[in-house]
């Protein structure tokens, strides 16, 4: 590297830092955030957690009820992810440069993906709650829409990255569209797609808690109920069961990933 470029990149770094500090300061002002108070809150919060969030003997009696709700949440996330994956596969095939049928479908697929992904899952659940009411299907649909957007983008990227050469080779032999997709595109990108699906199931179990708090379904509702009735021992138990579930699912999907990727 020449001295001039080094000096220039130093300059850029300094400017970047000044901008970041400025933006941070402005954010603290607008959100009324006090750094010292924040720093002091932290040990206080940790000590509160250490003294109050304990699972006591009598809360274990609530375990069956909690587990039923947790079960519902897990099923909700898996169903939302799998069904969204099926539709995303079609949208992904439409949207990808390698496999698109024509430009109009490609644009439509990308638009649907961008639209459903960028409206936060919170907004979807609040919108759906108005007419679907307080039941599992509301949470399911909210997760479904968000997952659809994310997976479509991921699938489009996966298919694009899988490369054009196998597709071209099959085209040269005169293979039809369905042959190309089933024999060249899918086998190459399926492991990566599956990895994305597993990632989305993990994410959705965490999102399902949030959606549950808003729509009054699943484990999120249970958490919210105990939280609002100040039953912190039960809150600890609910949190604990969620942590265990998420970690188990992460371990299983890491295992699967290790084999297929």
């Amino acid at each position: 590297m020449k001295e001039k470029t080094i000096r220039k990149s130093r300059w850029m770094t300094t400017i970047a830092f000044i901008i970041i500090i400025g933006v941070t300061y402005f954010s603290a002002v607008i959100t009324d955030f006090n750094f010292i108070e924040g720093a002091l809150t932290f040990p206080a919060a940790i000590s509160w957690i250490a003294s109050n969030l304990w699972i006591t003997a009598e809360t274990w009696e609530r375990l069956p009820a909690i587990l039923t709700k947790l079960n519902e949440t897990i099923f909700m996330s898996i169903a939302a992810t799998t069904l969204a994956a099926v539709i995303s596969l079609f949208l992904g095939l439409m949207g990808s440069q390698t496999t698109k049928v024509n430009n109009i479908f490609s644009v439509i697929a990308r638009f649907i993906a961008s639209f459903s992904r960028n409206i936060p899952v919170v907004a979807w659940s609040l919108i759906l709650l108005i007419s679907f009411g307080q039941n599992s299907l509301t949470g399911f649909l909210a997760l479904f829409v968000g997952t659809l957007g994310f997976l479509t983008r991921a699938f489009i990227e996966t298919i694009d990255e899988a490369g054009h050469s196998a597709v071209e080779a099959l085209q040269a032999t005169g293979a039809t569209y369905s042959h190309i997709v089933s024999k060249a595109v899918l086998p190459q990108s399926l492991p990566q797609m599956l990895s994305w699906i597993l990632f989305m199931i993990e994410t959705n179990i965490r999102s399902a808690t949030l959606v549950g708090i808003l729509t009054g379904t699943g484990i999120g509702y249970t958490f919210d109920m105990y939280y609002k009735s100040l039953n912190y021992n039960a809150v600890a138990l609910v949190t604990f069961t969620i942590v265990i579930t998420v970690i188990i699912i992460e371990l299983i999907s890491n295992r699967i990933r290790k084999v297929i990727l």
């Binding site: 941070t24 603290a28 955030f33 809150t41 919060a45 957690i49 799998t82 936060p120 039941n135 992460e250």
Partner: protein, 290 residues
């Protein structure tokens, strides 16, 4: 080939065949088997899921047209009625601000923790402990962190930022430490040979070659944190545009206002996404772009 055949009797030259006599080329492929099983199990669980759902108060024939009508009202006639344009801009500013604070503070803390988590810069037991703590933190949903902090710290931006910090740190430590581990070991060895201490290695060997990479990851996290900040406003009373969204839909039932807020969030999210896509294409090698 002929010599090879003579040595082994034909029965031992075992070739799996399908029933119609075709040579089975897929047998023994573990990848295929696991892929098939995963898909089968997921399909089964999805079918089962619909039997476990709780359908109280649901009538699809009423809900679907109603949602359609609501969506049309939202997206075709957005307007504000409970607060002004200025107020809306301010609330968006609060949400973006929460995202910025959680990201910047998170990145600074994550930088130090990731030195401990990177295997080439720290001791194995330190790295393992940090990783385990981070895995635990990531397993608790952000909204629970914020709500738990809200009990101790009271409702306000401090609880929200602290709660969001936890996940930002866990996410960034993973990204940062992986970036450090990819630094060429030759650089580190060369520096160690000159007698540099740990601090020198970090500031002159590791950071310069990973810096743009770290900034890009931080920006990607900011994109996520904006969405999280909206969610925390709605679910944990952290204020900002998320809270307004919650009030408009849950209390006023004002679909036009919900539409306006949704558009506002959508525009910012799309701008952030475009920026992060450009960053990814510029700084990230194809192998880690996901």
């Amino acid at each position: 080939m002929e010599a090879f055949r003579e040595k082994i009797p034909l029965e031992q030259l075992y070739i799996k065949r399908a029933k119609n006599g075709k040579i089975n080329i897929k047998s023994g492929n573990k990848i295929d088997l696991v892929t098939k099983w995963t898909i089968a199990v997921l399909t089964l669980l999805t079918v089962l899921a619909f039997f476990f759902f709780d359908y109280t108060g649901l009538s699809l024939e009423r809900a679907i047209p109603e949602t359609w009508h609501n969506l049309k009202t939202m997206f075709l006639e957005p307007s504000l009625s409970h607060f002004s344009w200025g107020e809306a801009m301010y609330q968006i500013g609060v949400t973006v601000g929460l995202g910025v604070l959680a990201t910047v503070i998170g990145a600074v803390i994550a930088l130090f923790l990731s030195f401990m988590a990177a295997e080439n810069l720290s001791k194995p037991w330190v790295s393992k402990t940090v990783r385990m703590v981070m895995a635990f933190i990531r397993a608790v949903p952000t909204v629970l962190w914020v709500l738990i902090f809200a009990i101790a710290a009271g409702l306000g931006s401090e609880a929200a930022v602290l709660g969001m910090l936890f996940h930002s740190i866990a996410y960034l430590v993973k990204a940062f430490s992986e970036a450090f581990e990819e630094v060429d070991n030759g650089i580190l060895e060369a520096m160690r040979a000159t007698g540099s201490n740990w601090w020198h290695i970090v500031t002159h060997g590791v950071l310069p070659s990973t810096f743009t990479y770290l900034l890009s990851w931080t920006f990607l996290r900011f994109e996520i944190n904006f969405g999280v900040a909206v969610a925390m406003g709605a679910a944990a009373g952290a204020g900002g545009i998320g809270f307004e969204l919650f009030m408009a839909s849950g209390f006023y039932f004002d679909l036009r206002e919900v539409g306006f807020i949704t558009y506002a969030i959508l525009i910012i999210a799309i701008v952030l996404e475009m920026a992060s896509t450009r960053l990814k294409n510029r700084y990230f090698p194809a192998s880690v772009r996901n």
